[in-house]
Symmetry: C2
Subunit: 219 residues, 2 copies
């Protein structure tokens, strides 16, 4: 039976929606009382595991799940060995550089050399400033990155922004965008190459469904 | 004004309790409606910031906080450049190796060479198996590590255990303990060495209070 890794958090309901449209119902995961991390769909065609967004590519890389949905940001940050098959067009957000409103920096390149940038996305942040040829110190944090500038520990942050509410609430403004991110369909490369678990059919169905939705949205 | 970094989660209420006993009241952080990440105590003697447990040593290492409370497990995993000043004796837990009940492994050394171990504590796990001279592959996960053995991705896990409830609920049993962990008082090394912010007094008071509590518990 094919196993699908679904991400907890912001992408979950859209992911479940997408799979529902191709006949696989995992909406039991949306029930607040649900404590199970592993369920089968009612037709017993597929199994889904519910894991942290960052863990989705791990389960897919190790072949424990053959398909998964994960944000492009996680793929860029972790570079897992998975096949990145389709842009699912939902879960839009952007990886941005932000500074306190009161600061004089209007672009990343205006940040002081050897300044400090706090981020949960250490790899993405490092790569970005390396390409700008701007030497900065990246301070790795796990949460509440906005506290970096507030406490004076860093001049800026690199973080995911969707509505921008957290930035506004903390008096921060975006000054540059590293990249835009959406949900991606990923697969275990070997299983996909060998065509196991009808993977090609599933990927085709999910891509068609995505295309149709995008089309409907535009017309 | 001295700044103290307090960890969200399991250690928070005991940490606030300890500081209260030396005259610093940060119990506003325990209010569910509180959204502030930075507060001063009512006497305006000290400031506290509320951050993820793993971020406490970061704020202390960079001198944004002069004191902090963090689990010994985080110190061993991250090796931050902070002064590790006192064992505060609360927040006991242990870093353990666990396997499915049904498995035949009764000790870490019985795990198969080149087996897989899932863990959030990649550094601790690597060091442990290196010292055992047992080559294993560590699979880094962010959450729900117990899914590693359940899905068959790994033979074992290395994780923090306090009550053991999560292990039991997932049919896992502990077979070895890497180390025991409790809450630690840490300080910014340079500030401590220079005796800034009356740091020596605060550390002395907090240590005395801890000693007294431990004594009371034993008698």
């Amino acid at each position: 039976m094919i196993t699908i890794a679904l991400p907890k958090g912001a992408l979950l309901s859209d992911s479940i929606n997408l799979f529902k449209s191709v006949g696989l119902d995992f909406s039991a995961f949306l029930d607040d009382r649900n404590r199970q991390l592993q369920i089968a769909d009612p037709t017993n065609t597929a199994k889904a595991i519910l894991v942290r967004a960052q863990d989705v590519p791990v389960y897919v890389e190790y072949g424990q799940a053959q398909l998964g949905i994960v944000g492009y940001d996680v793929l860029l940050e972790k570079s897992p060995k998975v096949a990145n098959l389709a842009d699912l067009k939902f879960g839009y957000c952007r990886m941005s550089v932000a500074v306190p409103e009161a600061s004089s920096y209007k672009r990343s390149l205006e940040l002081p050399p050897h300044g400090r940038v706090a981020s949960k996305f250490v790899h993405c942040a490092k790569e970005y400033f390396r390409k700008l040829n701007l030497p900065v110190e990246i301070i790795p944090l796990y949460g509440s990155v906005e506290l970096g500038p507030i406490t004076g520990m860093s001049e800026a942050i690199v973080d995911l922004v969707s509505t921008g509410r957290t930035l506004r609430e903390n008096g921060l403004i975006e000054i540059d965008v590293l990249f835009e991110s959406t949900a991606r369909l990923i697969a275990h490369p070997l299983s996909y190459r060998l065509g196991l678990y009808n993977l090609h059919d599933w990927v085709e169905k999910l891509s068609q469904e995505t295309l149709q939705r995008t089309y409907t949205n535009f017309h």
